[in-house]
């Protein structure tokens, strides 16, 4: 199973991929409306908001966790 390079989500179904395109390496949650991949700041913000919304964690603590996780993903190595 392919894993999204930008957020680490396993991509099982065609719909999981950006624009439903299985040749893409990133998922629909990491794509902008036009299908291109979000940049680092966009992804960090999105991930932080998601953690705050779903786990109720403090904004700064959530951002810190998101940053730590992104460090390990192939899309954000440089």
């Amino acid at each position: 199973m392919k894993i999204c390079i930008a957020c680490g989500m396993p991509m099982k179904a065609k719909e999981d991929f950006a624009m439903g395109d299985e040749s893409k390496d990133y998922c629909k949650y990491c794509a902008r409306p036009d299908g291109t991949m979000q940049n680092y700041d966009e992804k960090l913000e999105g991930m932080t908001e998601f953690i705050v919304k779903t786990q109720g964690i403090d904004q700064e603590a959530a951002r810190n966790a998101a940053r730590g996780m992104m460090e390990k993903l192939p899309a954000w190595q440089n």
Partner: protein, 199 residues
């Protein structure tokens, strides 16, 4: 991409060390387990551990990440587009149940773990909450479960499960908490959040 025999072997040894470490962490606790314990369980020299993991901290993080990717894979396998919240919760428990000892140790010791390990746990919960959110939003719209803030919906479930897991010795001595209490806890939780008090 051609992978040499040596690289393949190295990857397999690493996988095996992660497996041994997970078992040691489950039995002795995450903080108490020494890398020497893992080496002797794996029947390798102490130095071998550090050929694969630069630090003990990194080894612990990789074991947590391995647990996370197993749970995420399990949920992806068991869940499809139109399953119910109850089925998602069952898949979550199934994933935990496969490494119950390790997960119980992880959540019991979270507060004293290094930051990288704590962040790895937040990311595991993030993947799980993603699955729960998708279904819960649909069921709230359909009026089958109560409308409530999503973090409380999620944390109420996690709080219940974690309480039982971190007190395994009381709730299921020498046994699996998930297999002994999982169904009952799921039924209770569904009953709490269902709009008509469940069926």
């Amino acid at each position: 991409m051609a992978v040499s025999q040596r690289q393949k072997q190295k990857a397999e040894t690493k996988k095996f060390l992660i497996e041994c470490a997970m078992e040691q962490f489950a039995n002795k606790g995450l903080t108490a387990t020494r890398t020497a314990d893992i080496a002797s369980a794996a029947e390798v020299s102490h130095g071998t551990i550090f050929l694969h993991f630069p630090t003990r901290e990194r080894l612990l993080e990789e074991v947590i990440e391995e647990f996370g990717s197993r749970t995420a894979k399990r949920m992806h396998e068991l869940i499809d587009g139109d399953c119910t919240l109850e089925e998602v919760l069952a898949a979550h428990l199934k994933g935990i149940g496969e490494c119950e000892g390790f997960y119980a140790a992880l959540i019991s010791e979270t507060a004293v773990l290094p930051e990288g390990a704590r962040n790895a746990l937040i990311m595991i919960q993030s993947a799980i909450s993603h699955h729960i959110l998708q279904v819960a939003e649909r069921e709230m719209d359909a009026g089958t479960i109560k409308t409530m803030p999503f973090d409380l919906l999620f944390n109420t479930w996690i709080g219940l499960i974690h309480y039982y897991l971190s007190n395994r010795a009381l709730f299921a001595p020498e046994d699996s908490v998930i297999s002994r209490h999982g169904q009952r806890l799921t039924d209770h939780y569904m009953n709490l959040i269902s709009e008509k008090g469940g069926f």
